[in-house]
């Protein structure tokens, strides 16, 4: 969300047929593409594209705590840095961490803490880096979805994955997964993160105006959308291993055929 809201109301966010400016219906997600294990040096990593968002998440750890005094005696410390690349937004953004990035680093960390079984690695740190390479609304949610896969990819024990999605209000109607333009000109934005394993909410924020009924409708819509994205997360996580399995099976078949 931006602190500088544009007052240009000339763009119609929802047309008479209920279509949004990118052709989507009110309850439609932008296309999502997820890849796991994309970086070589990081212990775990994941890349997500959601609409025009392009976000990379990487995990190092559990590793020795440096400096030692940040460590906790009975569990790992989770450290999280959400950062936007200077070229990620329409207008260049200064590389120095903004107040927004600092707040988001905190809420994203708090969204993932409930999922990590940190008691397994006392006196260590698990470092999580989220880099937004291109931003188009909903980057903290896509970042969380990707970060939880990076944690799983690193082999860190988890209660379950965390999935996130935002719902907003545009042209007076509740709508799923707002793009940047829709967020800037819309009337509300509600990012939600859920851990589907036990159906608990690990992140919820809101800015804008929603009456209690609109809130319930938006909240329910976000939770449902997250369940769908969760299925995609699991597939992406297993994809690499399943492809190798298939490859091996195909080789076996061609060899059997050769022999015949």
């Amino acid at each position: 969300m931006s602190e500088m809201k544009s007052q240009d109301q000339s763009i119609e966010l929802v047309d008479v047929n209920g279509r949004r400016i990118d052709g989507r219906s009110l309850d439609e997600l932008r296309p999502i593409k997820i890849e796991v294990g994309v970086l070589d040096k990081a212990d775990g990593s994941s890349y997500i594209e959601q609409g025009k968002n392009k976000i990379l998440a990487a995990v190092y750890g559990p590793r020795e705590a440096h400096p030692k005094h940040v460590a906790l005696p009975h569990r790992a410390v989770l450290r999280c840095r959400y950062h936007m690349a200077p070229f990620s937004t329409s207008e260049r953004k200064s590389p120095a961490p903004s107040r927004r990035e600092q707040e988001l680093s905190k809420v994203i960390r708090e969204a993932l803490e409930p999922a990590v079984l940190s008691e397994y690695y006392p006196r260590t740190t698990i470092d999580l880096f989220i880099e937004v390479l291109q931003s188009d609304g909903g980057s903290r949610c896509a970042g969380i979805t990707s970060a939880s896969l990076a944690l799983a990819d690193a082999g860190i024990p988890m209660r379950g994955l965390v999935t996130a999605c935002a719902v907003g209000k545009i042209a007076g109607k509740v709508a799923l997964d707002l793009s940047d333009t829709e967020d800037k000109q819309g009337e509300a934005d509600l990012p939600v993160a859920i851990m589907p394993q036990s159906n608990v909410i690990t992140l919820i924020q809101m800015d804008g105006t929603l009456n209690p009924e609109e809130f319930e409708a938006a909240f329910d819509m976000a939770v449902r959308a997250c369940q769908g994205i969760h299925e995609q997360q699991k597939i992406a996580l297993k994809q690499r291993y399943l492809s190798i399995k298939e490859e091996v099976e195909e080789k076996k078949e061609t060899e059997v055929e050769k022999e015949e």
Partner: protein
Amino acid sequence: MTLYVEKKQLVAPGEILAKGKYVSGENVHREDDRLFSSKVGVVEIDGDRLGVVPLKGCYVPHVDDTVVGRISDIGMSGWMVDIDAPYPALLPGSEVFGQRTPRSRMDLSKTFDVGDLVVSKILAYDRTRDPLITAKGPGLGRVTSGRVVKVSPAKIPRLIGKKGSMIGILKKETGTHIMVGQNGTVLVSGKSPERENIAIQAIRMIEREAHTQGLTDRIQVMLRDKTSDE
């Protein structure tokens, strides 16, 4: 008692494995009467014990493990060793020289210097302290030759195989000497670089296909092919 998965099934963290009086094995966590996987891995069922064999994960020290570590620092009476675990290992001087007169830092560095690789054994480890290792014993000590191959620690059991069956095949077919550190560092030395390369290729293949079936046979075939090419 309901089982939701089958043996060798690939599962993700948070996926439900079973409900009821099952025993939680490795990488399984229980909430009330339900068992969930905590990692990406392959389901293992042994009677009423459910576990998940992880496909990735850092090395967690166990007493008696043989590990290959790198000297990272020299202290007053011993060395700090990086064993690729979340905790640095301590190698006291007494575990190399025996209980004799205290050594100076210079003496210590003459034996093992920063950057040296050392094969050692885990003597002690618990959650409140860093692991303690020893370099006294047969096969332990400074590494002077061989190629270093880093393997994901989660794949080491597959590399060794049941009762050493897999690693035995590698050694036999390539004629190389292979020292497998439980912490994922493997040392390969053979009569020729070509032989070493073949062994390393096999190691990489095992690492990549650890979760599939029939791997032992495929490795055997691959090694026979490659060594006969020479």
